[in-house]
Amino acid sequence: MMMRELGKWQKTISVSLSRYMAFKADFFLMLVAPSLVFIAINYNIWRSIYESRGGGSISGFTMDQMLQYQCWSFIVTLLVRSHRTWNLSEHIRLGRMTAFLLYPFDAWKYYAGEFIAFQTLQVVTAVLAIGVLEFFNFLPPLDIATCLVGIGFSLLVSVLWFVIDFTFGLIAFWLEEVWIFRVIFGFFAVLFSGAFIPIELFPRALQRVLEYTPFPFITSVPVHIFLGTSHVSLWSAAVTLLGWIASLSLGAMMLWRRGLRLYNAAGI
């Protein structure tokens, strides 16, 4: 029984991998290129800021530390935020979800399988990116153990991102266009996760508020793990993260059940 279920997951993942690999140029342009553009912009903005100030530090970050922060932020973004379940809302809206409702393999498992396949490719991409950044001295000599812990934690965060993205996709049961919610959330995620400006640079009150949201986990916490400057224990961070994943999954499950009653399988 267990083996059969595993076989379904394994085949879903391998088919998804084939599909991603079938369009190498699309894969690069859609998923790696935006992160590359983002790091290039961030890197140069921060470099200009420090150079215009004539060096020094900002909230404890020297220029080198800030540039390293931005490099790791790029790696974390690759690992955490690259996968988009954009097709979920489209599947609901255009009725393509129908096929997934008929297969004796639940729809969420199919999307999760796609996500795992994608993350597999992203880990390879991220490792290559770390190698390149290291080779060109954008990063200091690496501690492999810290790096592995950072990648592991980032992958856990990617599950959180997947659940959030999946939940947004489910809104398509109620609304025709859900992209605006994704854009708004994406904007807040970039701003409050520390992807562009480290959270340490925010006012204290805002930092305290953010501690009660999942935002810091999306970039700031994993980046500090890579940098070796994390102030929170890895275990408590992991437990809190799992708590967020569990509660958001519960919410997604409720949305799924309610939404399914509204599904009209348009187009057939």
Binding site: T98, L102, P104, Y263
Partner: protein, 343 residues
């Protein structure tokens, strides 16, 4: 909504049974133009539309039932409810002993839906990869999978295309792959929603013949909707006519053909133009060709012999043929005059 009498199905239990099955949609209404858009934004107006209403149906094991009706009649909505894709608003449905919308895994393993207008295969990968994925999903043994893939591929003539990406196949080839994908797990119940739509006549016939043979071998229960009467005539001994979301006819194809009366279509050709005003044609609804050398008549079965003899002796007939009222014409007449339907 969970079933208490769960899947305790005996051999004689109906495969499909539904009582008062109803599906209502809330549909937004908007007046045309910019003002209408503005008005509907400030005060949205919506109406409840019944796509399917108080539908009762029983289908036994191994039956092939043709669902007939114009676009928007509710046929596809009915299929969506019976496959568990869409939740019914009211009523009870049992399919293979399960309540469809609860979609238990065992239920999903025993049904198949072919949608002529929607691909269920993955376009970016070859068909064989999709089949392998479905093999895992439906837990088909390696032996059965190999045997079915090869035999279905052989019958449908698509074995040489197994390793071609689906998006590169023609519509007919893709449809054959869809059929294969749906039959790999040997379903007990198969819903075919417009399986021949958009195909040329040769491909349509190929798929009809395939299903005829497949059903004969496997005794699969089939529910078919099609706008091509040839599909219905070739495959369905039983017809259910759906109009405005309601069942308006349920019976054999023979009974359906006789709904409008026991009339025969008689076509006559003459060696020279004949008198169209002759009283012999009265009451036979003659449809003449332009030069008056050919006519199509509708003659009551009871008086066919007597009236045919009269015509044959009065006019220089060179050809005579008779057929019953074509099902397509019965349907067209009924759609235009639903009051002619019994009940």
């Amino acid at each position: 909504m969970f079933s208490l009498w769960y899947p305790f199905v005996t051999v004689n239990s109906p495969v499909i049974s539904c009582q008062s099955l109803t599906k209502e949609y809330v549909s937004a209404r908007k007046a045309p133009g910019f003002l209408g858009t503005l008005r509907s934004f400030v005060s949205p107006n919506s109406v409840t539309v019944s796509a399917v209403q108080d539908f009762n149906l029983e289908v036994g094991p191994g039956e092939i039932v043709g669902l007939l009706g114009p676009n928007g009649a509710g046929k596809t909505t009915l299929i969506k409810m019976l496959t568990g894709i869409v939740a019914p608003s009211r009523g009870i449905a049992r399919v293979l002993g399960y309540e469809p919308f609860s979609r238990p895994k065992d239920f999903r393993k025993r049904i198949a839906l072919v949608m002529g207008q929607k691909s269920q295969l993955w376009l970016d990968i070859p068909a064989y990869d999709s089949f392998q994925l479905l093999q895992r999903y439906y837990e088909v043994s390696e032996r059965d999978f190999t045997q079915r893939v090869h035999s279905l591929g052989e019958i449908l003539g698509v074995r040489h295309l197994f390793h071609t990406h689906i998006r590169r196949l023609s519509l007919g080839e893709r449809m054959k792959m869809e059929l294969m994908a749906c039959l790999l797990h040997n379903p007990d119940l198969c819903f075919l929603d417009e399986p021949t739509i958009g195909l040329d006549v040769v491909a349509q016939k190929h798929i009809r013949d395939f299903f005829k043979e497949y059903q004969r071998q496997h005794k699969t229960t089939i529910i078919l909707t099609s706008h091509y009467m040839a599909d219905i005539e070739a495959l369905c001994p039983r017809i259910v006519l759906v109009l405005g979301g309601r069942k308006r006819f349920d019976g054999s194809i023979g009974d359906f053909e006789r709904v409008l009366g026991r009339e025969k279509f008689v076509t006559l050709s003459f060696s020279e133009p004949v008198d169209r005003a002759d009283p012999i044609w009265t009451g036979l609804n003659p449809q003449w060709d332009e030069d008056g050398t050919s006519v199509e008549l509708q003659i009551e079965e009871e008086s066919l012999r007597e009236r045919s003899i009269a015509i044959l002796s009065a006019f220089p007939v060179v050809d005579y043929s008779t057929e019953k009222l074509p099902i397509e014409r019965v349907l067209k007449t009924l759609l235009a005059n639903p009051h002619l339907l019994p009940g």
